[in-house]
């Protein structure tokens, strides 16, 4: 467990040092920030190595038990297992690459020291989520991450876009988090504890993943569990930017690009999915929740992919693609495969971080986010071009890049549920996810092709002479390109991922494996592979065909529904009208009421009482003696009362 403490504490200490001393000793900012995350990465690697070599590694530690009153309590508990070790490696690798990359990207920024400290704090918070073994501990990490992202999105606070994006991100996720908190209450009540380990063990006994021959299994109320998991889903939907709380993520792109890579691609948005994976046994107890997840995932998946097709800002394309890819992960969970979801989470972390950092490299070089002002960068920025191509191929699901295998795992799980439905997920959700997932694969390839062609091919349209970025920005791209290319090949066929991801509990003696009721194995199916690759190629070719006619023009210009796609189906405008404006009107009304009615009314009552009492009649002039008389009268009243009545 020492390694867990080390992994969480190192970036935390680095952030405190950076926040308190960053301005005093500017030279130390870079070493402290990089070292904090570096130590974390080393600890994560050692833990992952142990997890691979030890079958079913589980370690727990409790720092303190906090009484809440009425017999309730929660523990400051941490837990290390295979899943946590694996995800912590992904988090720290991306975080370290972002820290290194930022040293160049934000060179000369006067606020670099607080920026680096907040990235460190963010990393620590994400790791706390990863290692938390208590719902409240998890919530602390969850929300600290949210506030760090608020500050980092608002890094360029001189610009209106940054300010608005930061506010929107924070308020939207907080909205989901209130539901999340109530979900924690509900789940805590059902299971009688807030300990994740005990909740998962109980739920696993209930759904049959674990069997127990010595203990009695009391039936859990499905209705309450459905309510609880749906409430938890609110927080997940907010954090992982799923419909209907997805609108903050594209606007969050106003933050510096490395932040987009860290927060809005690889870690924070992944926290929502990770949470469901963590409590998956509980979610499996409610088919209703699974069905809702499938619907949300399908709407988000296709809608976001279509929106990505029409964006001009390269970062907004990637933002919508993040929303869409997270929906794949949620869809995998909805059809009963936490493994496929985790697998896609890991590959996505690698290729999306790579894509954002590469996009940052492009933006740094051409000085704009807008793709119509790019073009022809293939020769000017060879490293960026090659690495970004790898990332885009992975995103589009082109074999043998990582995204192909993980997306295939998701589609395979959907096919399994559709054809041989025997888990808690309904067959129709399988069909839905399968069809929408395949269509989205085609759309994904289309927007990927559009981004690739508009940025790197054709004539250079920007005024500035672009150039390849500095080594501190290039190397992280190369490092991240490796897993983006190979993680799928390494992860899938050898089958090591499924083995040590299955959460095992040590909480009660007499537990044993109860069989594969819930988990769907990872596999690459022939039919889904052919269909998804075929659709992807078709999508990409369609864009290429349009683009070839006029390489300077936007291939999406031909779309008839373009305005609706650019505005992402006007969801933002709807929220503005239905929520933001009414609250504003209510606030103004309250202010008016407070000025007129309440003050007037109470002062009026006061005036009446005063004239009746006559004791403190001259208070109007602020006569102090009158007040003192009032006080004395009060004390005398006590005296008289006591003397007369006793």
């Amino acid at each position: 467990m020492t390694l867990v403490y080390l992994a969480v504490a190192a970036p935390l200490v680095a952030s405190f040092v950076g926040l308190l001393g960053g301005r005093l000793v500017p030279r130390l900012v870079v070493p402290v920030a990089v070292a904090g995350t570096g130590v974390s990465l080393l600890a994560a690697l050692v833990m992952a190595a142990r997890a691979v070599t030890t079958d079913g590694l589980v370690e727990r530690a409790s720092l303190d038990t906090v009484p809440l009153g009425g017999g309730l309590s929660f523990g400051l508990d941490l837990r290390l297992d295979g899943l946590a070790a694996l995800v912590s490696v992904a988090v720290t690798v991306v975080a370290l690459m972002v820290q290194v990359y930022s040293t160049a990207y934000l060179k000369g920024d006067p606020r670099y020291s607080s920026y680096a400290a907040l990235v460190s704090l963010f990393t620590a918070a994400m790791l706390l989520v990863v290692f938390a073994d208590d719902l409240f501990v998890l919530l602390v990490g969850w929300e600290v991450m949210g506030v760090c992202s608020y500050f980092l999105i608002g890094h360029h606070w001189e610009q209106e876009g940054s300010r608005a994006g930061a506010v929107k991100a924070f308020v939207t996720t907080r909205l989901g988090d209130v539901g999340f908190l109530f979900g924690i209450f509900t789940i805590g009540q059902v299971f009688g504890t807030f300990s994740i380990d005990r909740i998962v063990a109980d739920a696993a006994l209930q759904n049959g993943r674990l069997a127990c021959h010595v203990c009695q299994i009391a039936a859990l109320p499905e209705g309450t569990i459905t309510i609880g998991t749906l409430l938890l889903l609110c927080g997940v939907v907010g954090k992982s930017a799923q419909f209907p709380l997805h609108t903050w993520l594209p606007d969050a792109m106003a933050g510096p690009t490395p932040i987009s890579a860290l927060i809005h691609a690889a870690t924070m948005v992944a926290a929502g999915i990770y949470f469901v994976v963590r409590l998956y046994d509980v979610f499996l107890l409610s088919p209703t929740t699974l069905a809702v997840m499938a619907l949300i995932a399908c709407v988000t998946m296709l809608g976001a992919a279509l929106a990505a097709l029409a964006q001009d800002d390269i970062k907004r394309v990637l933002a919508y693609s993040t929303v869409s890819q997270l929906a794949y992960m949620l869809a995998a969970l909805a059809v009963g495969s936490a493994l496929a979801s985790t697998f896609h989470l890991l590959t996505h972390a690698a290729f999306k971080a790579l894509l954002f950092l590469a996009a940052g490299s492009v933006i740094h070089a051409v000085g704009t986010n807008l793709m119509p002002a790019m073009g022809g960068l293939r020769r000017l920025m060879p490293v960026t071009f090659v690495t970004m191509t790898v990332g885009l191929a992975a995103l589009a699901g082109i074999p043998p890049f990582a995204g192909f295998f993980s997306k295939e795992a998701v589609l395979g799980a959907a096919e399994e549920t559709a054809l041989h439905h025997d888990g808690p997920a309904a067959a129709w959700t399988g069909w839905l996810v399968l069809v929408v997932g395949l269509v989205t694969a085609g759309v994904t390839a289309a927007y990927v092709a559009r981004l690739w062609l508009m940025t790197f091919f054709g004539e250079a349209r920007g005024g500035v002479a672009a150039h390849e970025s500095s080594p501190a920005m290039r190397w992280p791209l190369v490092v991240l390109a490796v897993p983006a290319a190979l993680l799928g090949l390494a992860g899938l066929p050898s089958g090591w991922l499924p083995d040590w991801l299955a959460p095992v509990s040590e909480v009660a003696p007499g537990l044993s494996e109860g069989g594969d009721v819930a988990q769907v194995e990872l596999h690459v199916g022939l039919v889904t592979s052919v269909l998804s690759v075929g659709l992807a190629v078709a999508g990409a070719l369609a864009v290429w065909a349009v683009w070839r006619r006029d390489p300077a023009a936007d291939p999406a210009a031909a779309l008839r529904w373009r305005p609706a796609l650019v505005h992402a189906f006007y969801v933002d405008d709807l929220y503005d009208r239905a929520l933001v404006r009414p609250v504003r009107v209510a606030a103004r009304a309250v202010r008016r009421v407070d000025d007129d009615v309440v003050v007037g009314g109470v002062t009026g009552t006061g005036r009446g009482a005063r004239s009746l009492a006559g004791l403190i009649a001259r208070t109007q002039g602020g006569n102090v003696t009158a007040y003192l008389t009032g006080l004395l009268a009060g004390v005398l009243l006590i005296a008289a009362g006591v003397v007369v009545l006793t």
């Binding site: 303190d64 906090v66 009484p67 809440l68 009153g69 009425g70 309730l72 409240f136 602390v140 929300e143 506030v147 606070w157 001189e158 300010r163 930061a166 506010v167 924070f170 308020v171 907080r174 909205l175 209130v178 539901g179 908190l181 109530f182 209450f185 509900t186 009540q189 609250v583 504003r584 209510a586 606030a587 103004r588 009304a589 309250v590 202010r591 407070d594 309440v598 003050v599 009314g601 109470v602 002062t603 006061g606 009482a609 005063r610 403190i616 208070t619 109007q620 602020g622 102090v624 007040y627 003192l628 009032g630 006080l631 009060g634 004390v635 009243l637 006590i638 006591v642 003397v643 006793t646």
Partner: protein, 498 residues
Amino acid sequence: MNDLLLPLLLVLPLAGALVLLVVPGSSGERVAVPFGVGVTGLTFAVSVWATAASPETDVQWVPELGLRFHLGLDGLSAPLVLLTTLLTLLCTVYLLRVRPEAQRMRALVGLLLLLEVGMLGTFLALDMLLFFVFFEVVLVPMWFVIAQWGDDRVPGGRVRAANVFILFTLLGSAVLLLGILLVGLRAGTFDLVELADRGGAGLGRTTQVLAFVALGLGLAVKTPMWPLHSWLPDAHTAAPTVGSVLLAGVLLKMGTYGFVRIALPVVPEGAEAVAPFLGALGVVGILYGSLACLAQRDLKRLIAFSSVGHMGFVLFGISTLSPVGINGALYANIAHGLITGLLFFLVGAVKDRHHTADIDVLGGGLYERTPRLGGLLAFAAVASLGLPGLAGFWGEMLVLLGAFRPDPALSRGYYLVLMALAGVGVVLTTTYFVKVLRRVAQGTSFQAWKEAVLLRDATTHELAVWSPVVALVVVLGLWPGFLLDATTPVVHRLLGGG
């Protein structure tokens, strides 16, 4: 020695105030603040010692009135006593360098010491009448602080604000006294320990309901509960920084402390009958306060309204009558005292530098021109909106959890609705704080502020005053057991749960 600790806590600041009264004018002016720092520092030290020893004092005071000088320190009062002595100490230290325009430091420090006597007495008293006396003692010094050292540019002037403050609270006190007398005379004792042990036995239901309403109204004015809150924004806008800090940081807690110390344990049946109304008014306060904050233009007024919302949470927690909810109320009490105290320090510093607290006049750019002040404001705002990991969260969370499972005698469905509404309040609170940061801290400065030479960033002295509060907000956020270990047993005892 331990017997004398608690009286010493009261005697020290009282003696200090008397000394300042007799010291001749010119030299008194000079030594007043350092002397005040010495006295409040000593009082703080004694309070820490007393917390470790947890003593009790019980002697006859005015036998004819049945008035006993019964003082005690337990898990309920100790955190508030420490909060009081700490904030008073920080206020006097703050006055070393930052002085209100009206000067006359001898009188100001004397009044603060007097204020401290009243505040500590209220938290230490284990006799209802003694509680009432100290509850009242606070009013006079606070009136002077607002009326003499306040900001006269507020609408209506500082004297009017001070008058509204004292008028409201005196009216409340009259009702409170009625409640105390009703209980005391029917029960035959004013002793809180004995009354709490009896748990309302011997008091009829009607008496209990009447007594709770009377006690509750008196305490609710101080808290303040919506719609009795309207003295608060005016008082805060007018009060000088140290006055605002103590008013929000400590004085408001006297009301909610009274609920937990007196109203709940002494007349439990009355509490049960009235709790749903108290809860509803608390939640209205949460929503009303946060909506009012969304439309506020004056920073100090905004923080005052945010207090209405936060104290609404405290009242809501008390109204659940469950150990969890009351634990939450107590936690939120302390957290609000620290965080809002800090917010008033910071806003006071902003106002001292700009001579205005109007958000539109201030414009943006606090991060730009005074980064440390801006950063601290952001920290305090984030703490105040209840971010997990900082002190503000645990109180709010426990209040909501208390509402999720209220006392079995209360309607659960009703409280679930209130809980959901309070959840909306959480989102609105987040919204107005990030909105304030957006309008004041982010963005670029107006030309006028850029040219102003006097706009210094937070000084070392200011940082020294604020850093203990910042540290406590972090510690209480990361280690909630620190406070909950102390309050939980007392809450269970007061609720009769063993």
